[in-house]
């Protein structure tokens, strides 16, 4: 906008278009106006449902029109503004301008809550005054917190590794089946992915682990009447709950790994066979090194999922009988006990635990790749 316009030039040439302040102004006003209309439009849905006759379908339609139409208009106005700048500036700014709304939303929905949670973790239960490190002292002195942390560690050690291993085995053997057999067996193993965590936990809790042998399959097979989900000896109940998550995630691991295995060039396999390698050697020395990237991706995805594991424990034991994990403990502290400070401190600990694991995994992967 600072560049001086050249009004006597009739044709705008490529590479050196001048600034057009009027158009820039109208673009800017458009952005503000659209933003204002959008904001108030959405607020009116919440504050004045009577304007829409309390009709939910009508309100949903208005929301869709406002959302899609509004963002299209918003981007159009941004575009008008940017293009009216001198070309050098506009070409440099365009990618940022289009990323800006997304970044603003992420900042609002992700960064702000993160910062505020860390802030609240130093405050009292009603988040009205700072209490220093009291919350951290309280949770670290609480044996229940260490139980939860130990359980999270157990989940982390077992679930991702077993999920990847089972997924790999299934993918490998499904690869050897006939086309039809592969299709059906894979669909079957993928099926649990489509079940919600709560439903899966209920299915396993009632149909497999129930103490009544007439209902619980496990007791029926073993001829016992054990209340499996409450048996915390050797963390048995935690392991039984891990099986549920493994059962649900194996399908996901299998699908990704299977496509990776199919992408392994046949030539490398043939070459190995010609050199007299057996199937075992082919798998470990030829296939696995070539799909390492996918294995790591799957592994990290499951690791992140396990860090957040909540539903299975909440549904089956609510953290009782030594099965508590950090996410359930956070929920209890915040909603049952109403201690916002401690709850924040617990999730901050969780937040601090995730990055080192990820960094370590990525490092290990890079080292492997550089070799």
């Amino acid at each position: 906008m600072t560049a001086v316009a050249a009004p006597d030039r009739p044709v705008v040439r490529r590479g050196g278009s001048p600034a057009r302040p009027l158009r820039a102004l109208w673009g800017l006003v458009g952005v503000v106006l659209v933003g204002w209309v959008l904001g108030n439009g959405f607020l009116s849905l919440a504050y004045h449902p009577e304007w829409y006759g309390h009709n939910r379908i009508l309100m949903a339609l208005v929301g869709i029109v406002l959302g899609i139409g509004g963002s299209a208009l918003l981007f159009y106005c941004i575009n008008v503004f940017i293009e009216s700048l001198p070309q050098r500036a506009s070409q440099g700014l365009i990618p940022y301008a289009f990323l800006l709304p997304a970044f603003a939303l992420i900042g609002l929905m992700l960064l702000y809550p993160t910062v505020q949670t860390i802030n609240y973790s130093f405050a009292n239960n009603k988040s009205t005054a700072y209490v220093g490190l009291d919350n951290y002292r309280a949770i670290f002195a609480d044996p229940a917190f260490w139980t939860a942390l130990t359980n999270n560690a157990l989940w982390l050690l077992v679930v991702p590794a077993v999920t990847v291993a089972v997924g790999l085995v299934v993918a490998l053997f499904a690869d050897r089946l006939s086309a039809g057999g592969e299709k059906y067996s894979k669909s079957l193993i993928f099926l649990p992915m489509a079940i919600s965590f709560v439903a899966a936990s209920t299915i396993w809790g009632k149909l497999i682990y129930d103490a009544n042998p007439n209902i619980g399959v496990l007791n029926a097979i073993l001829g016992t009447e054990n209340d499996w989900i409450r048996m915390s000896g050797g963390r048995l109940n935690s392991f039984l709950m891990m099986i549920i998550l493994i059962w649900m995630q194996t399908g996901f691991a299998m699908v990704l790994l299977s496509s990776a295995i199919k992408n392994v060039p046949d030539e490398t396999l043939e070459a190995a066979r010609l050199d007299g390698a057996n199937e075992r050697a082919i798998f470990f020395r030829v296939i696995v090194p070539q799909i390492k990237g996918t294995v790591l991706t799957v592994f990290i995805t499951v690791v992140i999922l396990v860090m957040k594991v909540f539903d299975i424990i909440y549904v089956l034991t609510n953290g009782q009988n030594n099965t508590n994990v950090i996410a359930v403990m956070f929920f209890d502290e915040l909603f049952t006990a109403g201690r916002a400070g401690r709850a924040s401190a617990i999730v901050v600990v969780l937040l601090l635990l995730v990055p080192p694991i990820l960094v370590y995994q990525v490092r290990a992967y890079r080292k492997e790749a550089a070799r």
């Binding site: 988040s127 009205t128 700072y130 209490v131 009782q320 009988n321 909603f335 006990a337």
Partner: protein, 442 residues
């Protein structure tokens, strides 16, 4: 400077509790003949509630808008903190009511109700549950009672056992006689999903009331005596003795934990019965088999869970609960009018006839109840020497809906002794951080 990132510690409502002089208010229009009510019960119960108000509405011209929500406990907090509290809220537990009363959002009932009149007709002990710093903030509009022992009428009478044991010793004799026949005497189930363990807390409360009396009970639920007091441990031991007596409780310790509380009494109606006695609240009839429910008076017998034969306290206690109505808009004469009606013994006729509802007033017309069982239950409640609110509902949430439940499970499984469990619960009792609220940081 950083304190700007925290929430305003002085954001209280009208200041009814804090200021004393002013009246609590909300954002609703006053005197517009519309009163908004929020509560936890929905479905058929909400219909019966509305039906019970129909006559009152026609008489006074006040329209009552009742909005139920199953997550009432959290929603009322949320609405209040955003300035959208209803005119009247009906709290299923006193804890949430007192929390909001402390923050100054609830009008004390002595400013608009005739306290003495209420106190005369209500069961003794009810208003105490809603008392904070000397003032009462809510009045009951529904009662639940828990000190009732149920049995399958035909089978039990065929056995010829005592149908009205006068004290715990006589009841233990009955149980011993039943156990001697080879069938366990008691049905018991503590499993309740996320709430597993709560039926166990009821047992401890019942025993605390009977062994040590209402005064110790009050000290215990308010933590004036520590949770790991030897008297509490003694109550655990008494319950343990009952559970561990050979063939006394169906399924033993592990069976109790894996049986859902609603299913616990089903074996009693099998042929031959798998157990005979269950101590549970008046809501248990809703879990009985359909055939039994259709013919409750013929199929089901009941007696009051009796007092102790000797010791510290021998009066008849009644453990129970109730929904407490509280006024959140002291400026609205219509809301006050509704509160007067809701908390009086005139309220509830149609709901009583529909079943599943008990009036907390001893003067309520019992002929309005649908069956003999309900009438007997109401009589038991009215005839009790002392009524006490379910202790776990009065304790802070972290204990009453947290560590107490967990403790019951650990104790029942035998992973921890009564001393260890009660000490754990005592340690989980929230420390009042109000001092910190006013301290540093601001």
């Amino acid at each position: 400077m950083l304190a700007g990132c925290l929430q305003n510690p002085n954001a209280v409502g009208g200041g009814g509790a804090a200021g004393g002089g002013s009246v609590v208010d909300n954002a609703e229009t006053d005197g517009d003949k519309v009163v908004t009510v929020m509560g936890a019960f929905g479905g058929a119960e909400a219909d019966a509630f509305r039906e019970s108000l129909a006559e009152f509405e026609a008489e006074t011209g006040i329209r009552i808008e009742y909005n139920p929500d199953s997550d009432f406990t959290n929603l009322i907090r949320l609405r209040t903190s955003s300035g959208q509290q209803p005119d009247i809220a009906i709290f299923p537990q006193p804890g949430g009511l007192l929390e909001l009363a402390e923050q100054g959002y609830v009008e004390p009932i002595d400013t608009y109700l005739d306290y003495d009149e209420l106190d005369r007709t209500l069961l003794p002990g009810f208003l105490e549950s809603a008392r904070l710093n000397g003032r009462v903030y809510g009045a009951p509009m529904r009662m639940a009672v828990k000190s009732i022992v149920w049995y399958p009428k035909a089978a039990y009478e065929a056995g010829g056992w005592n149908t009205a044991p006068a004290n715990l010793d006589e009841l233990a004799e009955v149980a011993a006689e039943i156990s001697a026949t080879g069938t366990p005497a008691w049905c018991m189930g503590w499993e309740s999903g996320q709430g597993t363990g709560w039926p166990g807390t009821d047992w401890i409360e019942e025993l605390m009331l009977r062994m040590w009396g209402p005064d110790v009970y009050d000290d215990w639920v308010t933590n004036r005596i520590p949770f790991n007091d030897e008297r509490v441990v003694a109550a655990f031991d008494a319950l343990g003795e009952m559970i561990d007596a050979p063939n006394n409780v169906r399924g033993g310790r592990s069976g109790i934990l894996s049986t859902a509380f609603g299913d616990a009494m089903l074996p009693a109606f099998a042929d031959p019965p798998g157990c005979y006695l269950e101590r549970q609240g008046n809501f248990v009839t809703g879990f009985l088999p359909e055939g039994v429910q259709a013919n409750l008076d013929e199929e089901v017998g009941l007696f009051i869970y009796p007092p102790a034969a000797e010791g510290e306290y021998t009066g008849q206690p009644m453990l129970g609960g109730g929904d407490l109505a509280a006024l959140m808009n002291g400026n609205d004469p219509d809301a006050i009018e509704v509160m007067r009606f809701l908390t009086s013994d005139r309220f509830g006729g149609p709901w009583a006839s529909a079943g599943g509802w008990l009036s907390p007033h001893s003067t309520f017309d019992v002929s309005l109840y649908p069956d003999e069982i309900t009438r007997t239950t109401a009589e038991f409640a009215a005839s009790a020497d002392v009524f006490r609110y379910d202790g776990s509902d009065l304790m802070p949430n972290a204990v009453g809906a947290g560590s107490f439940w967990d403790g019951m499970i650990e104790w029942l499984q035998g992973t921890k002794t009564a001393e260890q469990v009660t000490t754990d619960i005592q340690n989980s009792w929230p420390v009042d951080d109000s001092a910190k609220d006013e301290g540093d940081g601001s």
